[in-house]
Amino acid sequence: MSRILKKKEFGIFLVILVLSSILTMINRVFIRPDNLIDVAKGNVVPGIMALGMLPVLISGGIDLSVSSTIALSSVIAGKIMVNYGGNLFVVLLVSLGVGAAVGALNGIIIAKLKIPPIVATLGTMSIILGFVMKYTNGDWITNLPEWFKSFGVIKVAGLPIQVLILVLAGAVTWFALNYTLTGRGIYAVGGSPSSALRVGYNVDRIQVFIYTFCGAMAGLAGVIHTSIVQQVDPNTFNGMELKVIISVVIGGASTMGGIGTVLGTFLGVALMAILNNGLVLAKVPTFWQKIVMGLIIVFAVSFDVINRKREKAKLERVDVEE
């Protein structure tokens, strides 16, 4: 029990609990199952992208290009569906493939050319977004085939299919991070790249893998997004990378690398989702929502740092006493 209490995820969970209770008191609609399912469905896309971003942040990197990647893969998958038909398998394959290819490119630039991740992905972000906008002119892709539209509204045991895919993606990420050699290598690289190199990890290969995974997740998120909104709007993803990063960080991952869990990431995404939904339900005026959001982000990240400092100080004191 005390082990659970000490965990970082527990703190976020507590915040979610308190916030949910307050919101329920303000507006009963919040706790209704259909509202909760709607919130979950609406946040599958940032959730999947956050799962891709998690290993990147654990490794001490960052990927700003995810919003361009999701736009690119949605547009390509959308065009293929409209022009050639195909089936769900093809769409998923193309989307994941495009995402993985972009991610691999990022990974190679970062690992082999040693360009810092934030700069490399900033560059690819503007290159890819430029191509997407040039190709589509910012136009929407509508009239998607019926089979795809009907895929989007499938429900299993009352839950939308998208939510199940998110859970599945989470399980895969969790397994990969905790029970594979590459997954442990990601934590090692994030802790200290030179130590990881010395114990025999192929740091370059791990880095390429991380960014490929992140890109593939963005590709998957593209299919899911299209299946929810039933059209492709290349402009809708602007600025999404920052939202995804902040969710993962609120979920306890450190931008310095080495720390982060799938459970925490889910809680971080949930916190942001509840905030977004709750501020609307609590009838907070639109103009105030961003202020509340900004303050909560700043205080959430500060709280974490202060907590960690206190823990460290306690540890040091114990050291001295012994």
Partner: protein, 339 residues
């Protein structure tokens, strides 16, 4: 000759950038002959560059310390909005002269407050700069939205427009502001006590603190400086557009990071020059204006800017590798120590 050698050894990066700038200027002249080298176009570029350049200078200081300021464009617009409210007040309607001075002062006060907000959380609480400014970006945007209700504020006194559109001795006023900011930045960063501390903090904060320097106060000032530069950019912007709005200049945020890195500032902090940033800003401005004249779309410009960024960094990496290989030749011990 000796001067050239000194230049090559100490400022090789700026020299490369200068060569690229000259190349880009020549190329753009060839691409759209008769259109690029006109007085009108050059004046337009000179009027457009300052707002971007000022924001880039503000971004540069933050990056020099190993941080980043993602809230920079929102600081620019928020302080612009503060100035706009002062400009529209009854006082300014009655006394335009003092009113404009008051507007500038109010925008600076807002900038200092935002800088203190960012700085306190980065320096004293110790949160990563990226996360603090990610939050404050949303916060400042929210405050701006709240004040303007999402619309734009317009109708400034005509004399205020001179700040963004006027000429002094044939030189656009924004360019003069930019030049003054460049000189001030140069002296503060590369010729002052505080500047040395900024670079040291960027190189190794712990070592700097242990050598008796108050890194917290240094960092706090860095974010105030960053905000003040942004507010100057904001003032030029609202004067040029004759209105203030929350989302003005939002594309400058990522662009300014690109310009700073292109200018040779290390994203991990500790290295970089004001001159490098200024030349990189000019390269990006000339490229986008030139391609615009040539008839390229905005998206082509995005693609090309991205390619320049990745390309220059690749060249820089290759150069560094070659140099370290040269140093290590025959020095097996050094190589082992490096791995």
């Amino acid at each position: 000759m000796k001067l050239l050698q000194k230049l090559r050894s100490k400022h090789s990066n700026e020299l490369i950038l200068l060569v690229i700038l000259v190349g880009v200027v020549l190329l753009m002249g060839i691409l759209s002959p008769g259109k690029f080298y006109t007085k009108n176009n050059l004046l337009t570029m000179a009027a457009q560059m300052p707002e971007f350049g000022l924001i880039a200078l503000g971004m540069m200081v933050a990056i020099l310390t190993g941080g980043i300021n993602l809230s920079i464009t929102n600081v620019a617009t928020l302080s612009g909005i503060a100035a706009a409210f002062t400009l529209l007040s009854d006082f300014t309607q009655n006394y335009p002269g003092p009113g404009i001075v008051l507007a500038v002062v109010s925008s600076l006060i807002v900038a200092i407050l935002t800088g203190l907000f960012n700085g306190v959380f980065v320096a004293y609480v110790g949160v990563a700069a990226m996360l603090v400014t990610l939050g404050s970006m949303t916060l400042f945007e929210g405050i701006g939205l709240n004040l303007t209700k999402g619309g734009s504020i317009a109708g400034f006194p005509p004399s205020f427009m001179k700040l963004g559109n006027g000429n002094l001795l044939g030189i656009p006023v924004p360019l003069l502001i930019y030049l003054a900011a460049i000189i001030v930045s140069y002296f503060m960063l590369e010729r002052s006590n505080w500047g040395v501390k900024v670079y040291m903090t960027g190189c190794n904060e712990v070592a700097t603190r242990f050598s008796g320097i108050n890194t917290r106060r240094t960092l706090l000032k860095v974010y105030v400086f960053s905000s003040v530069m942004a507010s100057l950019g904001g003032l030029v912007m609202i004067s040029r557009y004759n209105s203030a709005k929350v989302d003005y200049g939002s594309s400058y945020m990522m662009q300014s990071v690109a310009a700073v890195v292109l200018g040779g500032t290390s994203i991990n902090g500790g290295h970089g020059t004001v001159l490098g940033t200024v030349i990189a800003v000019a390269i990006i401005q000339v490229t986008s204006t030139g391609l615009n004249l040539y008839g390229a779309e905005r998206y082509d410009i995005d693609i090309i800017t991205g390619c320049i960024l990745v390309g220059v960094l690749t060249i820089r990496f290759m150069n560094a590798k070659r140099q370290s290989a040269k140093l290590l030749k025959g020095g097996g011990a050094a190589q082992r120590a490096n791995v």
